[in-house]
Each structure stands twice: as structure tokens, then as C-alpha cells.
Symmetry: C2
DNA sequence: CATAGTACCTCGCCTGTCAAGGTATTTCAC
DNA sequence: GTGAAATACCTTGACAGGCGAGGTACTATG
């Protein structure tokens, strides 16, 4: 991928929660959506994704349930919880702040 | 600090190089500048900073020399090299791309 | 029945951050 | 002059997140 792993570090939770804010979904689908939305430039590796799900569920930010299997194997759906919503809003505002600060720090006089 | 370490992970090199693009500087000063520019909301820990210097020097992106000591102890100055400039521009454009993609991925319909 | 696509999961490595601790020099108050 | 504070640099070890590699299982299609 063109965007290195460390750039998304710390942002995976935000991305997943923001996606679940749109409605329940499952791992495989979320991965596809992320890939599509970013025109293939961004990709959450499966190991990363499932690790994140586990972490978020332990934190109580998401809840899972086994859902109907479509064309393939059975799916584990995830739903965002109230605390997940809160966390998501917090992460979104943190992202806005990070952007703002980063832009200031990366600013160069004879501008790039 | 209000912005957690993982949010800047992968951006420290960009920040340091962008700062050195403004002219030679040394660790202690760069740290202060970052703190000031971000109104104290952002802080590169010393260990992180010196680790990054070492890494960047090994990569040939920066070069160091001992400079005159001002009011305190002696200072090790860093200068950006041609390859460092290139890397910096690349990182800057990567940052722009990351911003764009992240904004798309974090977008929510009933917007936050 | 084999293959490809869907779907989930785990282990172990790697790398960047940082808490903690250490060294050396200069300045300034007392 | 001596002690504290600020300046300035550096290293070690622990920790956490991302991910390569490998594995399981089910369904549809030819």
C-alpha cells in the first residue's frame, strides 16, 4: 500500500467506529469499504482489523453477534455501543486537532 | 499531553525534517519549537526525538556537527541533506494524502 | 470434486514511543 | 564559592499496535 502502517497507527479504532456509526457490519465488509473509500490506497490488514475488534469489544465500545451467512462463511457482526459512540466522537475531534497541529508543524516558509 | 503518542507515530520524521528545512537546529530547541507551535498540546519526548535523530542520520537525511554552546551545555546541531529534503517533500505529500483519505473514512452520514 | 471467493482467527516479529535514569555545562542567587 | 536551576545530550528496557504468515471452514460454480 502507498500509505505506510505507522501512519494509520492509532487511527484504526477511529476508522472502525466511524464505519459502525453508519450501521452494523462485519470484518470482511468493513475491510472492503475502507479499501473502496480510499481508492485502494489504504488497507487495514486482517490481523490488524481483528485485533482492533477484540480490543474495542473488551473496552465495551462495540458488541458482536453471529449473523446470517451470505454467500460465504458465517459472519460476526459488530454494533457500536453508547460508549463506542462517545469514543468515536472523541476520536473524531482528536483527529481534527491532530490535523490542525500537524499542519502548523509541517508548515515551511518557502512553502512546499 | 492531549494528543496521544500513537497519533503522531510515523509523523515525527516529517516534523523534524520540516523544522530543519527552516535552518539548522538542535534537539532541545526543536522540542521547544514544537511545543510552542502546538500551544503545548503536542510534545515529542526526548527519547523519541533523539531516537529519530539517530535514525534520520543513519538514513543520510540529516547531518550533525557540534556547535557553539550558548547559555547551557554544548549543542549538537543538525542540518538537512539533499536526500532529507526529498524525503521531507515526500512525507509532506504523504501527509496530505493521509488527511484526505482519513477524512473520507471518518465521514459519517448524519455528520458528527 | 476441485477451485475460488467469502469469512474468521491466532502467533510471533518488528518498530516507534516513552518512562526512567544518567551525564555535563553554565548561570545566578545567596 | 557553593548549591540550585536551566540548558543540553544520551541510553536502556518495557510496551503496544500493525502485520506477515499461516490456519480453519463454508458456499457456489463449473
Amino acid at each position: 500500500m502507498s500509505i505506510a502502517g505507522d501512519l494509520i497507527r492509532g487511527h484504526t479504532d477511529a476508522i472502525i467506529l466511524a464505519r459502525l456509526l453508519q450501521g452494523d457490519s462485519y470484518g470482511y465488509e468493513i475491510n472492503k469499504v475502507i479499501s473502496t473509500l480510499s481508492s485502494g490506497r489504504f488497507e487495514l490488514k486482517e490481523a490488524t482489523l481483528y485485533t482492533a475488534f477484540k480490543r474495542l469489544e473488551e473496552l465495551g465500545h462495540i458488541a458482536s453477534y453471529w449473523g446470517g451467512s451470505g454467500p460465504g462463511a458465517r459472519r460476526r457482526y459488530y454494533a457500536i455501543t453508547p460508549s463506542g459512540r462517545e469514543a468515536c466522537y472523541r476520536l473524531l475531534s482528536e483527529w481534527r486537532e491532530t490535523k490542525e497541529i500537524m499542519d502548523k508543524l509541517l508548515e515551511t516558509e518557502g512553502n512546499a
